[in-house]
Amino acid sequence: MFKNLFLGNTSINFYEKRKFLQNVLIIEVLFFLIVFVSASLGLLNLNFSVDFTGGTTYQFSSDYAKSDIDEILANEILEVSRYQTFENSSSILFRAVEGTQAQETQFLNYLANKFDINANEIEFQRVGPTFGQEITSSGIRALIIFLSFIVLLISIRFQFRFSIVALIALLHDLFICTSIYLLLNFEITPSTVIALLTILGYSLYDTVILFDKLRDSQRLNKESDLSIKTLNKTFNEILMRSINTSITSAVPIASILFLGNVIGLSGTLTDFALPLFIGIISGTYSSIFVTIPFLSKIINK
């Protein structure tokens, strides 16, 4: 089995699997629909960080008891909307609404007194909602221009039909990430937005390499259109590269997640790493399994 996989001699008939993969995709689409409909009904919420909603955060390390947290949630200086504690770490984070500067300073000193630490050791962050909105709106603008550009590029290099397939694979990865964030209620920070943009890059990169290989095989077999034989042969051959590449891409990111968890550092870097990790796995999957039902439709029988 391994020898065959390695030689690219596995004889999986991908074309015959198209109906099955199509059904898997339909189930996935239904899943996305359910998630997004529940989100629009307010059953699930995207957990936006303070950068998007505006407000203040206070993070510090100290020993604490559950009663301390309850006391702080009930304080009369600032309304604390959320708190977060971390495994393997004595770090604790409070998120409060925006107040006057005097209130914020008072709250800072209150925390310092409560936990007997120096007020300078508290990481303080104050953000107006415009900052996150600016990142998001410029990100979305970048995304739209980027996608149009990609459609154009792939249409020139390959065919217009192929660019639509690439676009579908791309949206698939974006939806998977968004759904996971919705379902598990992970916090969305500006880093997450950046990571999502990167996922698009990965997904495309993978798909472009696949298309290139398809075109090479077509030339080798002197075909002007894609055939079942070429499709099967190409996907069998490319399997090993896909596996190896996703391993080499995922390992450094997995080590960030792993180390971050061991050290107890949940910060910007892990904010990047999580969506990237999901995206790489999903990108590898989509470039092979999501493209097959659509490429099969392109084939002239």
Partner: protein, 481 residues
């Protein structure tokens, strides 16, 4: 021979640059999120003229330099109406805000009375009490602090009672409404003509008459009432008196004035006053839309996490690649190491000469690019295997594989490069750092594929005779297909 030159070019360049960077002890310039500090985003009104914004940035820069002690402050316009201020190494928030100042409204206001003669604030009035001579009745002006008699919230359009530190002594002045503002000033410089420092002040042409009329009025007064207070954001910066030889019928004409600093000043106060006069008021008011404070320890932790994760990731990848691709794996691990050295050196050099700062987003971009660089080798090696499989000689297969995979990598990297380029142009803040790191890495990947991989693989493969040295597979298995 030419082939060896090409394949060695990048490794030699990488090692050379790395040695140079080490010798000159350059390190990448770290962003605020990795070394600690304060980052403030100030947002002005949407329709602010870009030139006005540019002017405000210059004023802030001068202010921070004038207050000194901030290492490499970075102040830049971000987007249409926001100013991003980064003060690395600074964790004292008050200082940052002091250095930036709020709106910084500079006004000139006539002195009506002071505490110099009485010893108490002119906002207080004591009426002798006949029954109890030791406890006179105190009457205070509304809106002042009951204890010391200073106006609580100052409005330059009305009378105020403000504190001034005059040569070390506190004095409370009663000030009239503002007659001139910082906008009336054309220029101010500190000069040392003879024996003492003076601040030479130039008013704008359209404000000359206002200043002349004001000094006429003041010159007709005596004592404290000859003083003109310079007030910045409710604080008296200086309250110079009008010289005794100014004629009350003429005033100070010509739109220029000289403020004498007295012969005890060493130039420092004169310079500070000139800076405040020149740059006191920002031409536009800002709202602080974000303050981010990162302590040095958190920054260091994050940097270490990034470095450790990168290193561990690289080691694991190297082991996998060498186990799988054998000698070819060694070629790629050597190439990846050179890629790393070159990247490190170039980032250090960019930090020195272009002010490029390495942020967390940049580190994420680098980690992503390790994966992309490794993939270029995998694509080439898989191509080579396909060629050997169809029965071609090793040497021919290697040459064909590197040529074909170059085209694939060129297409794929072109997509990555356009993504990085578009992100860099269209995005703001941290996304830009990420895009730049990704873009640089992609260009390096192209260079390495073209020069290093394309020549080293055929050179090596031509000397081999067994697939076991390249893949975990026997000669007979691969050729029997």
């Amino acid at each position: 021979m030419k082939r060896y030159f090409k394949l060695l070019f990048l490794p030699i360049l990488a090692i050379g640059l790395f040695i140079y960077v080490q010798q000159t002890s350059l390190t990448p310039k770290l962003g605020l999120d990795l070394q600690g500090g304060i980052s403030v985003i100030l947002t002005a009104d949407e329709e602010t003229d870009p030139e006005v914004l540019q002017k405000a940035v210059e004023i802030m820069r001068t202010r921070i330099e004038a207050f000194g002690d901030v290492q490499e402050p970075e102040i830049s316009i971000s987007g249409n109406s926001a100013v991003l201020v980064q003060l690395p190494g600074v964790t004292d928030q008050e200082r940052a805000i002091q250095a930036l100042g709020a709106t910084g409204l500079l006004t000139f206001r006539p002195v009506l009375d002071s505490s110099i003669d009485t010893g108490y604030s002119p906002a207080f009035q004591y009426i002798p009490n006949e029954n109890d001579p030791d406890n006179p009745t105190k009457i205070s002006v509304p809106g002042v602090d009951e204890e010391i008699g200073i106006t609580i919230s100052d409005n330059p359009n009305f009378d105020s009672y403000l504190l001034s530190i005059d040569q070390g002594y506190p004095v409370i002045y009663h000030l009239g409404p503002a007659e001139l503002t910082g906008n009336d000033i054309e220029d101010a410089i500190a000069v040392y003509p003879e024996n003492e420092w003076i601040v030479s002040l130039d008013f704008k042409a359209e404000s000359e008459d206002k200043f002349t009329n004001l000094t006429k009025k003041l010159a007709s007064e005596i004592g404290e009432r000859r003083r003109l207070a310079i007030v910045l954001d409710g604080e008296i910066v200086s309250a110079p008196g009008i010289a005794l030889d100014v004629n009350p019928d003429i005033g100070i004409t010509g739109g220029t004035a000289a403020i004498s600093m007295g012969n005890t000043d060493t130039g420092e106060s004169a310079n500070n006053l000139a800076v405040i006069l020149r740059y006191g008021a920002l031409p536009v008011s800002f709202e602080r839309s974000s303050i981010q404070k990162v302590s040095a320890s958190l920054g260091e932790d994050t940097l270490n996490l990034g470095l450790q994760a990168g290193l561990i990731g690289l080691i694991i990848i190297s082991i996998i690649i060498i186990l799988y691709y054998r000698l070819l794996g060694l070629v790629s691990v050597f190439g990846l190491s050179m890629f790393g050295l070159l990247f490190y050196s170039v980032i250090s050099l960019l930090g020195k000469f272009q002010g490029f700062t390495l942020t967390l987003a940049g580190i994420a971009g680098i980690i992503v690019s390790i994966g992309l660089a490794a993939d270029s080798y995998i694509v080439t090696f898989e191509k080579l295997k396909d060629e050997i499989k169809v029965g071609r000689s090793f040497e021919f297969a290697a040459n064909k594989a590197v040529d074909d995979s170059w085209k694939t990598i060129l297409t794929a990297d072109f997509v990555s490069l356009s993504a990085a380029f578009l992100l860099y142009i269209l995005a703001v803040g941290p996304i830009r750092g990420f895009a730049l790191a990704l873009g640089i890495a992609t260009i390096f990947d192209l260079l390495f594929t073209r020069l290093y991989t394309r020549n080293s693989v055929p050179v090596l493969v031509a000397k081999l005779d067994n697939t076991r040295l390249m893949y975990p597979i026997k000669n007979k298995d691969i050729t029997n297909v």
